[in-house]
């Protein structure tokens, strides 16, 4: 592949990046050879994104040197990075929804030419690398997988020498992941280097030639993934062994705490997904999971269940036996529902309010409001209890919500709901962006809750997580919900197929056949 004498394509030496509240990167060394697929491995908060921003020119290092093909460089802007031959596929795509694919690509390319010529080039490149995409379509009409293909095609049109992929598989089905890996291997064989950012150990072992492991901003290991086990890599990543959740036997068979019957609802977002005829029962003492690629109606389903988007009829959503479709969130909470939303800051918590005040968001019925006035003592006491019980690292009850790390804030929000002894808890992406320790804590909390008799519904894009904690699992695709199968009777492969909308009994429309 490459000889020892060839210069590395990219070399970082002693990269340090200091922000006011945290040292994001501390003395990082990294070497990538031509044609190498190099993983950057680390849990959330380890500093991977910051490092990539520096390589891509969207941030500047406080200290350290960068060498490109043996020469020292200062990468001051994304435009300069692109001129060097560095392409970046963003985790949260840098696309413009109201424009077409070809307009999006035109914006990214430095030259201005006729759009028709560009369309032809797009079709060529996308075909060559197995990423079919129609240049004339408006981006907002594309699925998440298709949007990623546009992102990648956009980079490939500039004949990059280094392609950075930031957590690319979180939005793909297992089958689509395999397709992506084929594309990346083809690129590497042609001499392009790939920097692959991920925390998914199995994928890294499958795809990458080498890996650099980051933890808390520092490099804690270099390895050849093929020679390692997931356990050894995990130890490098988090510094200790992964805690496995104590799953326990599913209780199941309790009363139905949440029933969705024929739930159909048009999305109020013009770019959203309509829900169609959703049926689901969640019983006390079980954890039901809903898997799915993002953008298939999860957000709409959650709005319908939580009451943030009340329905026209009361029948389709029943909470603890009461027809609650028309209720808003507050009456549903009174029936015993707790809810952990997917966005922490701005929805689950008010960023500039203290943790104590954020407790008031959903607990105001628990005796914290007397005659219309806030009982500050009760509010503080609750908040303190939540912080202690859920091991929330923070500056006390008065700390602003946004000063907490993702994992700690998530623990607080989960704790807030759990401490109200809900009969039904709905959690969306409960461990997204959360460090491994907090993620394990949260998952264990959900299991404990289930063991105590609560009905738990988890909606997540992380299949591994769902298989770890759920008793039954269903799939949402294009606004429709499959049946929920016991986890013991299925596997990742089958669920992956279902995520394309192809479960038994689903109507197979042409759009459902790709994801």
């Amino acid at each position: 592949m490459t000889t020892k004498a060839a210069a590395p394509r990219l070399q970082l030496r002693g990269i340090r990046k200091v922000y006011p509240s945290v040292v994001a990167n501390d003395g990082i060394d990294l070497t990538v050879m031509p044609g190498e697929i190099h993983a950057v491995l680390g849990e959330n908060g380890a500093g991977k994104s910051t490092l990539m921003k520096i390589i891509y020119g969207a941030a500047h290092p406080t200290e350290g040197e960068i060498f490109w093909e043996g020469q020292p460089v200062r990468i001051l802007s994304p435009t300069q990075a692109r001129a060097l031959g560095i392409g970046m596929v963003f985790q949260h795509f840098a696309l413009f929804e109201t424009l077409t694919v070809v307009e999006n690509v035109a914006l990214a390319l430095a030259e201005s030419g006729k759009l028709a010529d560009l369309s032809t080039r797009i079709e060529e490149v996308s075909r060559r690398y197995g990423l079919p995409v129609d240049p004339r379509r408006l981006v907002h009409s594309l699925s998440v997988g298709e949007r990623q293909r546009v992102e990648i095609t956009r980079c490939l049109l500039q004949a990059p020498k280094l392609l950075i992929m930031d957590e690319p598989t979180s939005v793909l089905t297992p089958q689509a992941v395999r397709k992506l890996f084929e594309t990346l291997r083809q690129l590497a064989a042609e001499g392009c280097s790939v920097l692959y950012i991920s925390h998914k150990l199995d994928e890294i072992r499958d795809l990458c030639h080498s890996a650099t492991v980051l933890r808390a901003g520092k490099v804690t290991g270099q390895c050849t993934p093929a020679n390692e086990s997931p356990k050894s890599m995990a130890r490098m990543m988090i510094g200790k062994d992964l805690t496995v959740c104590q799953h326990g036997a599913p209780a199941g068979g309790g009363e139905v705490r949440l029933r969705l019957s024929g739930l159909s609802h048009a999305s109020d977002d013009p770019f959203g997904t309509d829900l169609r005829d959703v049926h689901l029962d969640v019983h006390a003492g079980e954890i039901v999971g809903i898997a799915g690629v993002s953008g298939n109606g999860q957000a709409e389903l959650l709005y319908a269940i939580s009451g943030e988007e009340p329905l026209a009829e009361k029948f389709p959503v029943q909470v603890c036996g009461v027809e609650a479709g028309r209720f808003g969130p507050a009456p549903r909470r009174e029936l015993g529902m707790g809810f952990v939303p997917e966005e922490r800051l701005g929805r689950g918590a008010v960023p500039r309010f203290s943790l104590a005040e954020n407790a008031l968001l959903t607990t105001h019925r628990a005796g914290m409001v007397k005659h219309g006035f806030i009982d500050f003592g009760a509010m503080q006491a609750f908040s303190k209890r939540c912080i202690e019980r859920f091991d929330v690292r923070c500056g006390g009850t008065q700390a602003e919500a946004r000063s907490l790390s993702g994992g700690n804030l998530q623990k607080y929000i989960v704790g807030r709901e759990v401490l109200q002894n809900p009969k039904l808890l709905v959690a969306a992406q409960p461990t997204w962006g959360v460090d491994v320790g907090a993620a394990a804590f949260i998952r264990q909390s959900l299991i404990d809750l289930r063991n105590a008799g609560t009905a738990v519904l988890v909606i997540s894009e992380e299949l591994d997580e769902l298989f770890e904690i759920c008793d039954r699992i269903a799939v949402i695709a294009k606004g429709r919900l499959s049946i929920a199968k016991p986890v013991a009777e299925t596997n990742v492969e089958e669920i992956g197929v279902w995520m394309s909308g192809l479960w038994p009994g689903a109507d197979v429309t042409p759009e459902a056949a790709h994801a």
Binding site: F93, T98, S112
Partner: protein
């Protein structure tokens, strides 16, 4: 007045009355397309009006007046841009501050000019075309700034939909973070758009005091800046609709003149007729806002949100 002359006069006056709205609203359209909400249009127009008047009076040239109005408008909006783009202050509060300050500043600076009259600016007749019956006068025998407003409309329509710079501007308005990731200088583009918008509002104000009624009175802008902002919403951020809307409003604004001038005996208080443009604005806003999806599909997604590139 016979019917044809009446229609011609109405058309003529409608076009003139709509002109300052077109110029200001088109400028604000570009600003909002880049994602910035500048509520200071009223104040900028006021400052443009007084600057234009002063310059025209001192120099004797209405064109210098228009230029002075433009410069004053650009300066005011530059101040706003520094506040909201560099200092990332709240856009709504800053725009309001600009309006209040602008109106007050213009009243203060304009005091000495209150009893001064400027010579009327003659129309620019386009030979042959101006002789067409009925519409010849209103369309082809107007002051030069009216023709400018039409040129501006064409230029902005071309800019937004056919030029690369316009595409970039629209992209910035939709998603500044994506635009930044792709390598565009978001703040710089927004500065340019904001100053352009202010310059246009300044010309719009100068039109009022130098061309429309060549005198200065405190409060003469009378809410046209706000109406121009409403126009942008009504037009769902598209230039052609701004043009149409501006003339509709222009028509409503001169309604009272024509009710009186036509000799119709309507027993309606003058104040009611004067309130028609404001009531019309409310009605129009209600009509266009009823369908929230329409707004969401057409408005620049990042409108009003402060953007902080965190390098």
């Amino acid at each position: 007045m016979d019917a044809t002359s009446l229609i011609t006069s109405i058309l003529f006056a409608t076009i003139v009355a709509g002109t300052p709205l077109i110029i200001t609203a088109l400028g604000e359209l570009v600003v909002e397309r880049s994602g910035v909400l500048n509520l200071g249009a009223e104040g900028i127009m006021a400052v443009g009006a007084v600057a234009g008047f002063a310059a025209a009076h001192q120099s004797g040239s209405p064109w210098l007046g228009a230029l002075a109005g433009m410069a004053a408008g650009a300066a005011m909006s530059l101040l706003f841009a520094v506040l909201v783009l560099t200092l990332t202050a709240n856009q709504v509060a800053s725009g309001l501050a600009l309006s209040i300050f602008g109106v007050g500043l213009s009243a203060f600076v304009g005091k000495p000019y209150e009893s001064v009259a400027l010579p009327a600016v003659p129309v620019l007749r386009i030979p042959l075309l101006a002789d067409i019956p009925l519409i010849g006068g209103p369309l082809f025998a107007q002051q030069a700034l009216v023709y400018f407003s039409w040129f501006l409309f064409a230029a902005i329509a071309w800019f937004l939909y056919r030029s690369r710079a316009g595409l970039v501007t629209r992209a910035v308005g939709e998603s500044p973070s994506s635009a930044h990731a792709v390598g565009y200088r978001v703040i710089r583009i927004r500065y340019a758009a904001t100053v352009f918008g202010g310059a246009m509002a300044g010309i719009g104000g100068a039109f009022l005091s130098v061309f429309y009624t060549p005198l200065w009175v405190e409060g003469m802008v009378a809410g046209r800046g706000w109406i121009a902002l409403a126009l942008v919403v009504f037009a769902t951020w598209r230039p052609l609709r701004v043009l149409i809307g501006a003339y509709l409003f222009g028509g409503v604004m001169i309604a009272q003149l024509f009710v009186q001038g036509s000799g119709l005996q309507i027993d309606v208080p003058a104040q009611f007729l004067s309130s028609l443009p404001y009531l019309a604005t409310i009605i129009v806003l209600v009509a266009i806002s009823r369908n929230p999806n329409k707004i969401r599909l057409n408005s620049p997604i990042s409108l009003g949100q402060p953007y902080r590139p965190d390098a």
